[in-house]
Symmetry: C2
């Protein structure tokens, strides 16, 4: 049973301005919430779940000492952002994520320059996780990490990738000679380039990389299209997937 | 000015059952509609557009002999499926797409096994177009090509890729020894495989490739994850992008 005040308080967190002011966000669904609960780096403030979920995950809730409220399906619908809510919703405390310079100088990192679609951001975090990229730096204009759609499409990868918001000019001093790769339309063929660990810049869905960041790219790269193609571009998340895959191949499986 | 009957008739096409029974579908937005109008293989039945669009594209409408109706922004909202309609909506006649055996035996093709999300289907058509794949075969359970979200996310690639609906067992006799690659979790490392032109099977978003199709795969392939990754999978469209990219690399840019 959930009170009217609690419903109002959770519904408020559907909006970014309240997530920002409260330092809280919402996670939904059996798989994602359970992953968040199991992660010791995360503080879950409160869980709202149907009785089946609470029974099944009682030990985990006890172990992590998380407060929980039993709700029925109708109550869950009121607090959920999903069209078909899946058993559980958690309110989680945001954790400040800071730039890890070590990661920046030793491994492949991603810089997302003004990515607007939360689904794309979440998908790119999932791609990074798959290929072992442990840090993503987002321009401050990039969409919100805590948007429910971002979290949903990241499929839990947010728990394993450090996502930092920092504009490129503020990142620059930390790069210290690292190659700066940029996904552009007229760069070097990525398949014949000799890729090294560095930072990979992915630009905005409609406009690509901004002029200010473009000026700092040391290695512009392009995914070559087939001769008989008529398309103008790939979706930003798909371009990111192909580029991260090619870095992974060259750094680990090059003949 | 658009009549109430016309509004009803177009709104009916928002539903698949009516698109099926009428043999018609809807295309929206300046860029997409103009590409459809310019394509001589396409029959646009009727265009509904604001006066700016009609003025600018008058010559094209004349040349293609397409009937048009001027609408205002409020009328366009009534017939559109988009939250912010973009100047124009066209009603287009479906064209039967048949399997091209020649393409099947000489080039890389895609088989989509029960892809459910229209956005994913559209994106995969766009990926195919980019890499010069000219034919996609979809299982009959795969989502509809004429779903407005499919068309929107394909960004016009539907005009350049032959998309055929055919179950795998009915496709098999035409394969005649072509390698059948399947994206699976425990196949051969795609980066160290020796890829040849063949058919690439991409499975359902949640369940992967169905058992019946899996039994016919001759070359199971996997995108290797990093050792330190914690993720279980990539999104189907991203996996498709990486695999098509790697085929493209090996067939065109292998050192």
């Amino acid at each position: 049973m959930i009170s009217k005040n609690q419903i109002k308080y959770i519904q408020a967190l559907h909006l970014k301005k309240n997530r920002d002011s409260q330092g809280l966000f919402i996670v939904e669904g059996v798989k994602l919430v359970t992953e968040f609960l199991a992660d010791e780096g995360i503080t879950v403030k409160q869980v709202y779940a149907v009785s089946d979920y609470l029974k099944k995950h009682h030990a985990l809730l006890e172990k992590r000492n998380v407060a929980f409220t039993e709700v029925d399906v109708e109550e869950l619908k009121k607090i959920s952002l999903q069209s078909t809510p899946n058993q559980v919703l958690a309110v989680v405390i945001k954790k400040e994520q800071l730039l890890t310079k070590e990661l920046l100088q030793s491994q492949t990192n991603l810089f997302l320059d003004d990515i607007r679609d939360p689904g794309n951001l979440g998908t790119m975090i999932r791609i990074a996780d798959w290929f072992g990229i442990r840090q993503i730096i987002c321009s401050k204009s990039t969409t919100e990490l805590y948007n429910p759609k971002t979290l949903q499409s990241s499929m839990g990868a947010v728990l394993r990738v450090n996502v930092v918001y920092l504009d490129f000019e503020d990142l620059l001093p930390s790069l210290a000679g690292t190659p700066i790769y940029g996904a552009v339309l007229n760069g070097q063929n990525i398949y014949t380039s000799n890729l090294k660990p560095g930072i990979i810049v992915i630009g905005n869905e409609a406009n690509g990389i901004s002029d200010a960041v473009l000026a700092k790219i040391t290695d512009p790269v392009t995914i070559p299209a087939a001769d008989n193609n008529g398309s103008e571009s790939l979706n930003a998340a798909n371009a990111c997937a192909i580029i991260c895959g090619e870095f992974h191949r060259q750094l680990h499986y090059k003949a």
